[in-house]
């Protein structure tokens, strides 16, 4: 059982033989590990491995795929934006918090893209790394580049409040029966628990900033003034991408009520709806009739995809 060749460097002489079974990291050093993983967590397999992926009768497969793609792309692109904040956060605790939020969203993205890909005949990696910009279906708000920490927290509040409500609906925790597809319903039910922590985290910081110093209040209010008009896109009538979702695109009044509760505690003023169509220097929520769900993205999207896709495109046959 014991393999001295794999003992960790620097183990003191005379230390008792260590059993591989006590340390799962030692598995990485074993030659007989069939997966040949090069680092913790790698050797990726499909996140829906072993799950019954048949689509029930009566569910429109095209609609289901488009819904999963839209929600998966929101999570993938927004997670990438959040990851770019790592090493730039004001405190270590916030750093780990944001990395965990980004990781949750990446996990949701993988399952949703896998679900969509199983229907359209592409893998999660093909969807994430080998689609062109107009093929992405995420909202433009997910692409937004935060100017400061206040924009980060306000944007996280808006996106997590919307996404949590939609996932509750998909999981059958809303007024309806939940998603007709059991895999989508299960992904959503799992995500609800995660998104609840994301929303609470964002709400706590919005209150802290809004009810903090004059400077933090001014920055939080400025962030809200910029981002609130862009939240319109989350509720654009969408006949296609989210049609498979019970409750469709979400209940704007319920969204507003939750945001208002946070803003009241924070002492922040919600901009008059719908606000200016396009704050100075900021991308509008839509271009004419088209927005992110139609593949019409902001100028920031090209930079995100260049970074996100560069490694996979440099070596298209690579495994992770």
């Amino acid at each position: 059982m014991s393999d001295p060749g794999s003992a960790p460097d620097g183990a003191p002489d005379g230390a008792p033989d260590r059993d591989f079974d006590d340390n799962p990291y030692d598995l990485l050093a074993r030659d007989d590990d069939a997966a040949h993983r090069w680092a913790f967590g790698t050797g990726f397999t499909d996140p829906l491995d072993g799950i019954d992926r048949s689509v029930p009768d009566g569910v429109d497969q095209g609609q289901l795929a488009r819904c999963c793609l839209a929600l998966g792309d929101d999570a993938l692109i927004y997670s990438h934006r959040l990851q770019q904040w790592v090493t730039r956060m004001p405190e270590l605790e916030e750093e780990t918090a944001l990395a965990n939020v980004a990781l949750d969203l990446l996990g949701q993205a993988r399952m949703l893209l896998s679900r969509a890909g199983g229907i359209v005949g592409r893998s999660e990696d093909q969807l994430a790394f080998f689609r062109a910009e107009p093929e992405f279906r995420n909202v433009r708000l997910a692409e937004h580049a935060d100017r400061d920490f206040a924009e980060l927290t306000v944007r996280l509040l808006l996106l997590s409040t919307w996404r949590l409500a939609l996932f509750e609906s998909l999981a059958g925790r809303g007024p309806g029966a939940g998603a007709a597809d059991p895999v989508l319903a299960a992904i959503a039910a799992k995500g609800v628990n995660e998104l609840a922590y994301h929303r609470d985290y964002a709400a706590g910081w919005v209150v802290r900033l809004g009810d903090g110093t004059a400077l933090s209040h001014a920055k939080a209010q400025a962030a809200l003034d910029i981002l609130w008009p862009q939240a319109v896109e989350l509720f654009r009538p969408d006949p296609d991408a989210l049609a498979a979702c019970p409750g469709g695109i979400g209940d704007r009044a319920a969204f507003d009520a939750i945001v208002d509760t946070v803003l009241a505690a924070a002492g922040l003023d919600r901009p008059a709806a719908p606000g200016p169509a396009c704050p100075p220097g900021r991308p509008p929520a839509a271009v004419g009739e088209r927005a992110g769900r139609d593949g019409a993205h902001t100028a920031a999207m090209a930079g995100i995809l260049a970074e996100l896709q560069s490694v996979a495109r440099a070596d298209p046959g690579a495994t992770w």
């Binding site: 079974d21 006590d22 799962p24 598995l27 074993r30 590990d33 069939a34 997966a35 993983r37 913790f40 967590g41 050797g43 990726f44 397999t45 829906l48 491995d49 072993g50 799950i51 605790e93 916030e94 780990t96 918090a97 965990n100 990781l103 949750d104 996990g107 949701q108 993988r110 399952m111 949590l164 509750e168 925790r173 059991p182 895999v183 319903a185 299960a186 992904i187 039910a189 799992k190 609800v192 628990n193 995660e194 609840a196 922590y197 929303r199 609470d200 985290y201 709400a203 706590g204 910081w205 209150v207 802290r208 009810d211 009520a257 939750i258 208002d260 509760t261 946070v262 009241a264 505690a265």
Partner: protein, 192 residues
């Protein structure tokens, strides 16, 4: 509910440690859901992720396979199950004991899984927070507010007077706290 506990492979799979909480096994954590040996298919182990992005799933699956191979089960499949989603309520009494022994406060009861999730404002202005007790939402306008989750007791000195310092710890499943009595920081498994 966990099924297949009487199967010979169960004890082998159940002893697999969690990579991020190595003091606990996947059985202690409630990650192991079933062990089956359908005719002609070898052993099928079903596990469930704690969080959607949990990077330990691949490690756990590889470890289960290696353990069963060594124990004489040549054909092993590790499958994933998503529904119902994992809950900290599935952590066993033994798992809770091991958590506390490792200095990690066990989770309080998981939040309800019915109806809309209530908003929790865990970072109220400091003055009202101290006046109303840790994690209280303070005097706020009516709305979908709920009191914060029960503050975990200090695993070191046992005091109930603890403060949340961060809702996310070194892993997604843990939060960070500080004991007001003994001053020590500690981790807690978040109720989920």
């Amino acid at each position: 509910m966990v099924t297949g506990a009487a199967r010979p492979a169960y004890a082998v799979a159940a002893a697999t440690p969690d990579p991020e909480l190595p003091a606990l096994t996947i059985e202690d954590l409630g990650i192991l859901r079933s062990v089956d040996d359908p005719p002609g298919q070898g052993v099928v182990i079903t596990i469930t992720p704690t969080y959607s992005g949990c990077p330990a799933m691949r490690e756990i699956a590889a470890d289960i396979e290696a353990r069963l191979h060594r124990a004489g089960f040549p054909r092993v499949t590790v499958a994933t199950r998503l529904a119902p989603p994992w809950s900290t309520d599935w952590i066993t009494a033994e798992g809770r004991r091991k958590l506390a022994a490792a200095g990690i406060a066990p989770p309080s009861a998981a939040p309800s899984r019915a109806g809309p999730v209530p908003l929790t404002l865990a970072y109220p202005p400091p003055a009202s927070a101290l006046a109303a007790g840790p994690l209280s939402s303070g005097p706020l306008a009516p709305g979908p507010l709920a009191p914060g989750p029960l503050a975990p007791g200090c695993p070191r000195c046992g005091s109930a007077d603890t403060r949340l310092t961060a809702q996310f710890g070194a892993t997604a499943c843990k939060s960070l706290h500080r004991c007001a009595a003994c001053g020590e920081p500690f981790e807690s498994v978040k109720p989920l």
